[in-house]
Assembly symmetry: C2
């Protein structure tokens, strides 16, 4: 039972698109991820996914719109909705999603992380 200082946790890693777990509640993980560049189109069939930006800018592309997030803004991608996160420059994002959620959703490729570490 310790508090989490988000900025300190972000300072512990540099890898992009590789979420780290920093908390668990009610069957969900709180994760931190650094992003830069373009991720892949994917969806999570059963799970809603929250993106909260703490540094930089993140665009979440949906098939029919683009949601542009800046620091202090969040967006929830509903289950079953295809999305592609894109960040021109490095951005820091808090994710919230069920424990079972895979980062690439219904797609498996070299970006898929089957196992996530706690930091």
């Amino acid at each position: 039972m310790n508090k989490v200082v988000v900025a300190e946790k972000f300072a512990l890693f540099d890898e992009k698109w590789s979420p780290k777990i920093v908390g668990e509640l009610n069957g969900q993980y709180v994760k931190l991820v650094k992003v830069q560049g373009e991720f892949i189109w994917h969806q999570h069939e059963q799970e809603d996914e929250l993106f909260f930006v703490t540094k930089g800018k993140l665009d979440i592309h949906l098939r029919d719109q683009r949601v542009s997030l800046e620091e202090g803004e969040f967006f929830i991608v509903p289950a079953g909705v295809e999305h592609k996160p894109v960040a021109e420059e490095e951005a820091h994002v808090i994710l919230l999603e069920p424990v079972a959620t895979l980062n690439t959703g219904d797609v498996r490729d070299e970006r898929t992380r089957e196992h996530l570490d706690w930091i």
Copy 2:
């Protein structure tokens, strides 16, 4: 499907200790609450509860310790753990907890909010 600009939402209300709903995912609500002063001791029997401070300072008193949160820090109070939030000055907090969670947990008093509004 709209993004949430947290600071804009906080600007919509002034009432203390009265959480407003700003998002829902996987059976949980994302809530915003302004706090100042001392809340009551309570617990949530089944639900873990996350407190993320976006402005000011919040102390979460537990029976055996005190967790002091500042901006950009969060703490998860596990289900069944008695806690009392205290803020000397106004603080802004994002809460995450199951839809069914009552703000005063196992206690009902004049601070209990049976119905929460979406903003």
